[in-house]
Symmetry: C2
DNA sequence: GACACTTCCTATAGTGACTATAGGCATTGC
DNA sequence: GCAATGCCTATAGTCACTATAGGAAGTGTC
């Protein structure tokens, strides 16, 4: 099949497939006479694997490591386990962080009901002079779980 | 004060301050004879405002909008309110998403206790052939709240 | 005054995981 | 024969920074 069908079957953009190829996550496929990429079922499976990992918010580096396990079925799978564990930790940490953030935002929101001018707005005031601890715990500590504005 | 002191007082890197200036979030300060940037208390306050917003994971565009409100105290503050509301929605959505993700990862993790070879590993198997719905709800829907791997 | 060390300056490129654009060839349907 | 679509490559842009290079100015010690 050509790249468009692969894209349709894996719910992945065509450009993204080519990007994965450049990044070495997908092997270079055969080419037609017209130089079109030609894929088989193995490619569908591998791309599906990648997209599932991405849906779980793993980085391409993490996925590379998992694919490496996948490509060496004779080796033990401690690595894969450890990777998932570490990733779980990151996700849990990020959730806690965002919940703190949600609390801070709700407190902020409660300070204004929209009836004032900006000069009297409790929100703007609080942002200019926050109560010290309100925001302290909400900021990330480099734990590799992304901020509030994803791309996907 | 010079840029280093401003950075220390606001817990913000020097390069980041210059970046905010280039982005128009901070006004260009006065310069010393040696061309060093010279800041006053107004800059400290404005930068603190920006950093608090960033700690709440707002984008620079959102912050620009809030600063615009801040800079026009005579105007009503509906905009600021609406912005915080929208941001809260995004954070809440992201939390829900990550919790779904956490569940999917825990289910995944439970499939292997690390005693197998990669060929028998339940994790790798599940990633290659997931049970359809497991991952479906975990993937983002472009709601602008970032993925699992932040930078900050 | 000579030297090292730190702080400051500008400009440019890199990060991750894509997305967008330009310019062009191949295929398909009418 | 022609337009619409799909495919190709290559390059640049996204966001919020971070890193690096190369140099000038200020500070402290001998």
């Amino acid at each position: 099949m050509k790249i468009g069908e692969l894209a349709r079957r894996t719910d992945c953009r065509v450009v993204t497939i080519r990007y994965y190829e450049r990044e070495g996550l997908l092997p270079e496929p055969a080419r037609s006479e017209a130089n079109y990429r030609l894929y088989g079922e193995a490619h569908v499976e591998r791309l599906a694997f990648i997209r599932h990992c991405r849906a779980l918010d793993m980085t391409l580096d993490e996925i590379r490591a998992l694919l490496d396990c996948h490509d060496h079925p004779d080796r033990p799978c401690h690595e894969a386990d450890a990777l998932i564990d570490a990733h779980l930790d990151h996700v849990a940490a990020r959730i806690a962080q965002l919940q703190a953030l949600e609390g801070a935002l709700q407190a902020l929101r409660a300070r204004c009901q929209g009836q004032h001018s900006a000069a009297e707005c409790g929100i703007l005031d609080a942002l200019a002079h926050p109560p010290e601890d309100a925001v302290a715990n909400a900021s990330a500590d480099g734990d590799h779980v992304a901020g509030v504005h994803p791309r996907l």
